[in-house]
């Protein structure tokens, strides 16, 4: 996640010092956001995608019990249903074609979207929670505590994240099986495994968040209103909760929207390595890495790469536009 390191550059932090907090930031932000057409369009795109993703499984479930024709359609489009129709190009029946097991690619893309977006959102949320707490505590405690906490961040920063992920995925997965809860209801394991993926990805992307938040907090600490509050006898916890965390909110939201696409991308890399979701489940990453195998000089099943790739890239674009739009709207970098 070193890509985002810039955000914690000393200069941007300094610049943020100069920014003044607007009277009603949310409203002003919204007004500005509405004027940003790419961001607005992206927001609509994401919303539409989410609706389709949510509606598709429902449609299939309803179709299952709605007459023989509909049931056949549902069976044909179940994401994990194998059939003899291997490598069918897109047609009226399968809009995105079928894969090597005769499964409907459209359905797999939509089911994969659940996983990919969930990984992105939950991973980002994990990074948000750890990062904000860590950074806020380090920043407001200052002194030796700050030093120690930031050294830990330094160490984790210099560790190649892949080692971390591999160990987490392999070790924790086995440890989880020993849990009494899992022993009683083994079906839980599948969900727990997915959870590890989320947590694992979140756990490697909170570092930058922690640094940003710490920088913000450090600059906020010297602000007059914080001094005033301190002089009035407010406890450090109170200052942290009432003044500091609300004031770093803008930066955090913006950074969060930029973390989501980064995590989705990282998950696709893990899937390429065979470390992502467990088959027969799909994620965009696993679908794309299956599609990439089809690029060769003899014959290309183009639909297996174009559709999953197109949806992934367009969604990442939308999320990034959204993040940029939010940043401009919240005026994070200051002007």
């Amino acid at each position: 996640m070193s890509d985002e390191q810039v955000e914690n550059s000393k200069v941007s932090v300094e610049r943020q010092n100069a920014s003044s907090t607007p009277a009603s930031p949310a409203r002003r932000a919204w007004r500005r956001f509405r004027k940003n057409r790419p961001a607005l369009f992206s927001a609509w795109y994401v919303v539409a995608l989410l609706i389709v993703i949510a509606a598709w499984p429902v449609a299939i479930r309803i179709a299952h019990s709605a007459g023989p024709a509909a049931a056949a359609w549902a069976k044909n489009h179940a994401p994990e249903q194998l059939s003899d129709a291997q490598f069918q190009p897109p047609d009226a029946q399968h809009w995105f074609g079928t894969d090597e097991h005769g499964r409907d690619v459209l359905s797999r893309v939509l089911y994969g979207a659940q996983i990919s977006l969930l990984v992105g959102f939950v991973g980002a949320a994990v990074s948000l929670i750890i990062g904000v707490l860590w950074g806020a505590i380090a920043g407001s405690a200052g002194g030796k505590v700050d030093g120690a906490m930031m050294r830990i961040v330094d160490v984790l920063y210099s560790l190649p994240s892949i080692i971390f992920v591999i160990v987490l995925m392999t070790t924790l997965g086995e440890k989880l099986k020993q849990l009494p809860v899992v022993r009683q209801s083994p079906a839980l394991e599948k969900e727990l495994r997915l959870l590890i993926l989320f947590v694992g990805l979140g756990a490697i992307s909170w570092l930058t968040m922690a640094r940003i938040v710490r920088g913000q907090v450090l600059s906020l600490r010297t602000r007059p209103f914080v001094d005033a509050s301190r002089a009035l006898g407010a406890s450090p916890t109170r200052i942290l909760l009432r003044h500091i965390i609300p004031n770093v909110f803008g930066v955090v939201i913006v950074y969060l929207t930029l973390t989501i696409p980064a995590i989705v991308l990282y998950e696709s890399f893990l899937s390429y390595l065979g470390l992502g979701v467990q088959p027969p489940m799909a994620s965009w990453g696993s679908l794309i890495s299956e599609g990439v195998d089809q690029i060769n000089p003899i014959r290309i099943y183009w639909w297996m790469i174009v559709f999953p790739g197109g949806v992934l890239v367009s969604t990442l674009l939308a999320l990034n536009f959204l993040g940029d739009g939010l940043r401009d709207a919240w005026d994070v970098k200051g002007s």
Binding site: S9, P160, L265, V292
Partner: protein, 304 residues
């Protein structure tokens, strides 16, 4: 003085990193000597583990490892048993660094002009197209763009070699595939930096004083606007120099990136820890260089 202090601080940091990664790799299930074909007697595996001291407790192994480090010995690779970790790094690092420099050059060569144009043309079509392309470059995974480049430039058009690492022509596609993401990143950062500095008070003041746009932008704005790019360059170069698994795998390049992934997957303990240390050293040194460059570029920044 500040830099010296940073350098001395590096040694304990490296020790901690080696300890953490050492512990992590031993935590993962599966050892380097688990094979599809079991040795004819369990004794053979014991022989192997005894030979590489894997039968000792982890802390003892770690002390042994650190003892080796003190003599500059990073241990033998457990997967490639004829090679020491140092051998492998010495073979792979120059290749990865060369490709890294090329990709860096490409990313800067494409990213900076793109960032500049999109910034000065803010809101016009050049900005929209440029910004979109920059974002696109950031959003397409490397393992998608690389096979597509291969397909188009080598299979369809026969312009460049498919893979391997032999002549400058062999470096073209990997450089682009590797550098594209960073080019997009840099373009975005530089645009951002330009927009911010152009709105700064001193720039507006200078404009008011009637300083020509040319000299003004040259002298001050760019110098400040490039700062985010400079601070990004540190971690970016550390990433580039240690190679990319995807690019090296697809283009068959004998760099270090493949080892980063495979050593963890193969439980090649010494190799994993050695590479983690290498990455950490590169990151620290490059960040130092970046801070130094910062000081030269921005008079406001001072280190104590």
């Amino acid at each position: 003085m500040y830099f010296l202090k940073r350098l001395t601080y590096m040694i304990p940091l490296l020790l901690v990193i080696s300890a953490v990664s050492f512990w992590l790799v031993h935590l993962a299930p599966g050892g380097p000597f688990d094979k599809e074909r079991a040795p004819a007697s369990p004794q053979i595996k014991h022989n192997l583990e005894a030979k590489y001291h894997l039968d000792e407790p982890v802390w003892k192994q770690y002390l042994r490892y650190v003892g080796g480090l003190a003599h500059g010995d990073f241990g033998p690779s457990l997967k490639y048993r004829d090679h020491s970790v140092t051998d492998i790094v010495l073979q792979g690092l120059p290749v990865s660094m060369l490709l890294g420099w090329l990709a860096f050059g490409f990313a800067m060569g494409v990213g900076l002009p793109a960032g500049f144009i999109t910034a000065v043309q803010r809101g016009r079509w050049q900005d929209h197209v440029g910004s979109f392309l920059a974002l696109l470059a950031v959003c397409i995974p490397g393992f998608v763009i690389a096979p597509i480049l291969v397909l188009v430039f080598t299979i369809k058009w026969h312009l460049l070699p498919v893979a391997l690492w032999e002549s400058p022509a062999h470096a073209v596609l990997p450089t682009i595939a590797l550098g594209l993401y960073f080019a997009g990143k840099i373009a975005r950062l530089f645009r951002e930096g330009m927009l911010n500095t152009m709105q700064m008070e001193f720039v507006t003041a200078a404009r008011a004083k009637g300083l020509g746009e040319n000299t003004l932008l040259m002298r001050h704005a760019v110098r400040l606007a490039v700062l985010p790019v400079v601070s990004y360059a540190g971690p970016m170069l550390a990433d580039l120099f240690t190679g990319s698994f995807v690019i090296e795998n697809i283009f068959q390049i004998p760099g270090l990136g493949v080892f980063f992934i495979n050593s963890s997957l193969n439980s090649d303990y010494t190799m994993t820890v050695g590479l983690a240390l290498l990455y950490a050293v590169l990151l620290i040194v490059l960040n130092l260089v970046v801070d130094f460059a910062y000081m030269l570029l921005d008079p406001r920044v001072k280190y104590e």
